[in-house]
């Protein structure tokens, strides 16, 4: 199975291209049972001609995005659908509709438009247009407000919530996994090596078993013998990358219990905008049009999942995702190609990660520490070390309190928290790109994964190098470009722990009724669905 075709990265070879042909059988409502013929007129329309000569115009069979998501075949067909469903065109339409609503004084068709911008997008523009991230944020605010957008937010804000929830979920899982015997507690005593922990292994019978009959796991496509329960599954795998989620659902169903149930920053922003922000303004979810600007095309697929759709209001938490590249296209369409001459506008208060500087005049960006894919590994390590083992002051970025090791290639890092005795307390990994995902999947499947938590990203180098990011000048090698964008991700952004976000406590209290309430689960957590392997239409198979 493949990642979405939209994820294509130039000059990279770590990418599975989509199958060529859509295998989804198209269902067409037949008008009659009797045989007839098909006629094509000069305009290209199809007519069914029944035996008595009656002509019925035939509907064009269409494959919708939902068909594609439900199909285990390719998702290339999704691309064309995506372009029409979630594109800057669609956003223009809504803005135009708003103008008409105001001109005709018809508030019923007016929608409040909110745009949430990812920090990776900011970094991409900063690198390409030689700006600072705060300048980019201010200029994008100016740009979108001129188009008629009402509020512009920052997904680093919702990411603070995603990090807190992911950390909490991990600690819960770890404790349950210990209780259920899924993993063994580390030996905290000073003489760790001296204690032989035989656990539940029957040493005698294992020794007596004939050597030849040792069946090595992974030998014959075996699924895990015991059902894996989400609440105690180890390792816990980060959920923020939609390319990875899509791939796991379609080809590695048994991996799903391992995936964190915390929503991605994009979808938490969706919950906040449609529910909390909406209720504050007295708006129903369908009276808000929420656009996210992302480094990744697969975020469009994520936004259109049924889990994030409200049947009651017939609206999605995120109505439209546009990529950094598409925003750049919008610049051109508005006749403004030079970002240097854009106006600047103060960032909106609300869901923004911004503080006043010491002078009290200028705005300064803040955000969680950690790498440019969101810092999930860094935060969970720091939080779990403190919560589970009372180890304070862990800082993965600085290498404080943990061992950081690049394994095999630059897209696979291991981060280990050890006791002075060498006893491993926590072993985390970041696995980016298809090849490393393969190895992770393989390790988990064969029970050889030594990890407690893995930050999984489909793109090599992670989100900073997402498929929707701006393309560099062709004279700059990709590796150098990624370094530049990565630098911009942090440039002038003051590190702030998610716990220090002053609004979050208030949000939990006012909006969610506290931590770990049913409402908090509903708004901040999600679930995953394995896609059954469809019987492939033999006619569509290419040899």
């Amino acid at each position: 199975m493949a990642f979405s075709g939209a994820l294509t990265l130039s000059d990279l070879n770590d990418f599975i291209s989509p199958s060529q042909a859509c295998i989804k059988p198209v269902e067409v409502a037949k008008t009659s049972e009797t045989q007839g013929s098909i006629k094509v007129d000069t305009s290209g329309s199809y007519y069914e001609v029944s035996q008595d000569g009656l002509e019925t115009k035939l509907e064009t069979a269409t494959i919708s995005l939902n068909d594609c998501l439900a199909c285990s075949g390719c998702i290339t067909s999704a691309e064309s659908v995506l372009v029409t469903l979630q594109s800057q065109e669609e956003m223009y339409n809504i803005l135009k509709q708003n103008k008409i609503a105001i001109e005709t004084n018809d508030p019923s068709t007016h929608r409040t438009v909110v745009v949430s911008i990812s920090p990776q997008t900011r970094a991409s523009f900063a690198a390409k247009y030689n700006q600072t991230p705060i300048q980019v944020a201010r200029k994008l605010t100016w740009f979108f407000k001129n188009l008629g957008v009402h509020s512009i937010f920052d997904t680093s804000f919702s990411r603070d919530l995603a990090l807190l929830e992911t950390g909490r979920e991990f600690v819960d899982r770890y404790k349950k996994a210990i209780v259920k015997g899924v993993i063994k507690p580390p030996n905290m005593s000073a003489d760790a090596s001296a204690t032989a922990d035989s656990g539940d292994m029957d040493v005698d019978s294992a020794a007596k078993a004939p050597r030849k009959r040792i069946i090595r796991r992974g030998a014959a496509n075996d699924e895990p013998a015991v059902a894996v329960e989400t609440e105690s599954a180890m390792p816990m795998l980060a959920s923020a990358c939609p390319g990875w989620i899509c791939y796991a659902e379609k080809t590695h169903g048994y991996m799903l219990p391992y995936i964190s149930e915390t929503k991605s920053p994009q979808q938490i922003m969706g919950s906040m905008v449609k529910n909390h922000y909406g209720s504050q303004l007295g708006l129903k979810p369908d009276q808000i049009y929420h656009v996210c600007v992302m480094p990744c095309y697969d975020k469009k697929l994520e936004a259109s999942r049924s889990d994030f759709y409200s049947d009651l209001y017939q609206t999605r938490d995120v109505d439209c995702v546009i990529t950094s590249t598409e925003v750049e296209k919008m610049f051109g369409e508005q006749g403004m190609t030079d970002m240097a001459v854009f106006g600047e506008m103060d960032l909106d208060l609300g869901y923004n990660s911004v503080v006043k500087d010491a002078t009290g005049h200028d705005q300064v960006l803040v955000g969680a520490a950690g790498n440019a894919s969101g810092g999930f590994l860094e935060y969970v390590m720091q939080y779990a070390a403190k919560e589970l083992f009372g180890v304070h002051g862990v800082d993965v970025d600085q290498g404080h309190g943990v061992q950081v090791k690049t394994v095999r290639n630059s897209d696979f890092r291991e981060v280990t928290l050890e006791l002075p005795t060498g006893e491993v307390l926590l072993k985390f990994a970041a696995a980016y790109g298809f090849r490393n995902i393969q190895n992770l999947v393989r390790k988990v499947k064969t029970g050889k994964s030594p990890y407690h938590f893995v930050e999984v990203m489909a793109c090599p180098s992670g989100c900073i190098n997402g498929g929707g990011q701006l393309k560099q000048d062709s004279s700059i090698p990709l590796k150098d470009w990624i370094v530049q964008v990565d630098h911009q991700y942090r440039n002038g952004v003051v590190a702030r722990k998610p716990e220090e976000n002053p609004v979050l406590a208030q949000l939990y209290q006012e909006w969610l009724g506290g931590v770990d309430t049913p409402k908090a689960r509903q708004q901040l957590r999600t679930c995953y669905h394995a896609v059954e392997q469809n019987l492939v239409n033999p006619l569509a198979v290419k040899w």
Partner: protein, 359 residues
């Protein structure tokens, strides 16, 4: 006159035979088939090469056709590539009854695995598939395998992968009519060269003993011989990528096979090239750098780039080698001991062992 005489016909497979591979050191042959099994054949009497026995049938490891087999260089393991998209790793239990056991399954390809190959050191395994990708796996302890790279540059089905005889350099042949050369740059593998020239699917490739030449077999009914030119080569062939050798076609053998050529084997012992395909004929060629101006009358292929002449002589042609059936695989015995043996497998489900007599 050189001859190719049939020593044995091995029957047992219940469907077409796709691939035959010699054990690296012993007179043992592994063959795989559309019947989803691998058969291991062993010579029963060293004095009488016409006596063979099927010692093992490897069953149950794959759900669909097994398309290719490959022995690890130490001969301890056998890899199988199947249309069920997986690669199986089999090991012989030497202590007990000599049964083969599937000790690992490599998953990852989206669909049919077409070919597999172990590197010379046995440290790397390459696989390729109809999903257009080439995967490189690192062999780890305890029958574990780590995916090092997923190479996506072919635009069509990849038919075959073959390692250089001495270096960690991989060649792949594809339905996109090209051959690609892959190398490692510490962090990942990259495509170091793309060989254009064939007008149709490249079905098979094999290196010569030195690894400086490569032969390719194509559905365009030709064989091509490619030579590697290093930077600063005395022939003055330009190497456009810094420090990177280029591969140039130095000979095209046309007008011999009159259908698709499916398999080619370049003897590591005596340098004779064997080829076979849909015209049911096994042909043996001798390829030599031509002595300028002294090309003899039986030269059937050469190119005229100055300094790159290469002559190919047809030695033997055996028609209807598998009756009226396609021949899918030919393989020379890999070492001196029986360097004159050639194995073939065809659509008739039979495996044949031949002896090459030079005069």
């Amino acid at each position: 006159m050189p001859r190719l005489e049939q020593l044995a016909e091995l029957t047992g497979h219940e469907d077409r035979v796709w691939c035959a591979q010699w054990h690296p050191t012993k007179p043992i042959l592994a063959t795989c088939s559309g019947d989803k099994t691998v058969r291991i054949w062993q010579s029963t009497n060293p004095q009488d090469p016409t006596k063979w026995q099927c010692t093992n049938v490897l069953e149950g490891g794959h759900k669909r056709t097994i398309r290719s087999v490959a022995w690890s260089p130490d001969g301890r393991q056998l890899a199988t590539g199947s249309f069920d998209a997986t690669t199986g790793i089999w090991e012989r239990d030497e202590d007990e009854n000599g049964d083969f056991e599937c000790v690992a399954t490599l998953e990852g390809h989206e669909n049919e695995t077409k070919s597999i190959a172990w590197s010379k050191s046995g440290a790397l395994l390459a696989t390729c598939s109809r999903d257009k990708s080439v995967w490189i796996w690192e062999v780890e302890e305890d029958n574990d395998f780590e995916c090092l790279s997923v190479l996506q540059e072919h635009t069509q089905d990849v038919k075959m992968v073959a390692w250089h005889p001495n270096e960690e350099l991989l060649a792949s042949a594809s339905y996109d009519d090209t051959i690609k050369i892959w190398r490692d740059d510490d962090d990942d593998w990259y495509c170091a060269d793309t060989l254009h020239g064939h007008d149709s699917t490249v079905w098979a490739i094999d290196f010569d003993p030195s690894g400086e030449r490569l032969v390719s077999a194509s559905a365009d009914q030709t064989l091509k011989i490619w030579r590697r030119y290093h930077p600063g080569n005395p022939e003055g062939i330009i190497t456009p990528r810094r420090g990177e050798p280029v591969w140039k076609c130095v000979a095209t053998v046309a007008g011999q096979h009159d259908r698709c050529i499916y398999s080619v084997s370049w003897s590591k012992v005596h340098g004779v090239v064997a080829s076979a395909g849909a015209d049911n004929t096994i042909r043996l060629f001798e390829a030599t750098p031509s002595t300028a101006g002294a090309a003899s009358s039986d030269v059937i292929a050469s190119t005229n780039e100055p300094g790159t002449l290469f002559d190919v002589h047809l030695l033997i042609s055996v028609q209807s080698a598998h009756g009226t059936n396609d021949i899918n695989s030919v393989a020379w015995y890999p070492n001196e001991e029986h360097g004159d043996w050639l194995a073939s497998g065809g659509d008739d489900g039979s495996v044949r062992i031949w002896r090459f007599l030079k005069d």
